[in-house]
Symmetry: C2
Subunit: 210 residues, 2 copies
């Protein structure tokens, strides 16, 4: 009997997996260790292909010591930009993006007005500091707001890949576009389960072949 | 000899053509008169089809007295939304939109900070009023920032039409997408020239047939 072939699957990774202290713990104590920890598991799963947008990989390099990481980094974690001049996205998403931005812009103005009204009651310097924080929160939270976010989303779309990210703005868009996603906190379990399945298949394959 | 056939052409209209006082002058003194003036010319050009997105038409109805306008309004100016769930747009535009928004968001914050710093020197009420104006200018000028803007752009794309608008945000995107556009200030000349060409063709046609 021919063994059931495991489906090959592509996975797109965000840096948060290795960089964000709350997230990377599953793989290592430092970003460099986390990358090594990931590569150790990933090397055991020939059915999975791992990708990272080049822009995101560049960010990652600011956090890790590449000299301490084995060459597996380049054979296992592929760096690739999305084909942004060939890909298209559904036009109705433009409406959602524009509506979302409108709401945020209005929210930003209310934050600014509140700050102006607060000056008489507080220290100007403190008011400006809290203005900056509140404004950024109002305008940036839960939105795709950078080139890197778009890279992640489009690469996952292009490769029909599973997207591993903790960024809720990106996740919201992944939902709109039908891109599968996984939180980094579940990613180690995902890898361990994949290793188990690969081993099962090897056993089944060996039995089938005997 | 068979006469050369005039190319049929589609034209998508923004409301500014009829509503904006600086623009509508070519067609009439009031929005209602401007619409009538346009219809009078348009009725003489069987080679042109005129469209307006439904959302924009709804805006127009707030400015005109439909009872005073002939039924030509509905046979000559077609109301139609773009097929937003079928159309796609090139993904690289997302990058441009996101970058543009980032810049504006940062500009908005600088405007807000300046307002906070201005409170000690001016009246709070005045500061807030000028904050509102400056903030809106910083965040909205030259950007597609409404559902109606997207409607205009997508309908022109869908119909491969000439887009007549004065909105620089929409024009900028028309340029990115390869949509032809014309300023309303040139539109009356465009219609008059079209009428001339239609008449020439009729003459040529009649001669050709004799």
């Amino acid at each position: 009997m021919e063994p059931v072939r495991l489906r090959r699957e592509k996975v797109v990774l965000d840096t948060s997996l290795f960089v964000n202290p709350e997230v990377r713990g599953d793989f290592g104590n430092t970003p460099t260790e986390a990358v090594e920890g990931f590569l150790f598991l990933a090397a055991q799963i020939p059915t999975l292909e791992f990708y990272m947008p080049s822009s995101i990989f560049k960010e990652l390099l600011n956090f890790i010591e590449p000299d301490k990481i084995s060459g597996d980094l380049f054979t296992i974690l592929h760096q690739k930009s999305p084909r942004k001049h060939e890909l298209t996205c559904p036009a109705f998403l433009l409406y959602e993006l524009i509506e979302d931005i409108r709401e945020r812009v209005n929210k930003g103005l209310r934050v600014a007005e509140k700050a102006v009204r607060g000056v008489s009651k507080g220290d100007e310097k403190e008011v400006i500091q809290s203005l900056r924080k509140n404004y950024r929160d109002a305008l940036r939270e839960g939105i795709i707001d950078s080139k890197e976010d778009v890279d992640l989303m489009l690469l996952a779309m292009e490769l029909n890949a599973l997207l591993v990210t903790v960024d809720y703005g990106v996740i919201e868009w992944a939902e709109k576009l039908g891109i599968r996603w996984l939180l980094p906190s579940k990613f180690k379990d995902y890898l361990l389960s994949s290793i188990k399945r690969v081993k099962e298949q090897i056993t089944v394959g060996a039995e089938g072949g005997s």
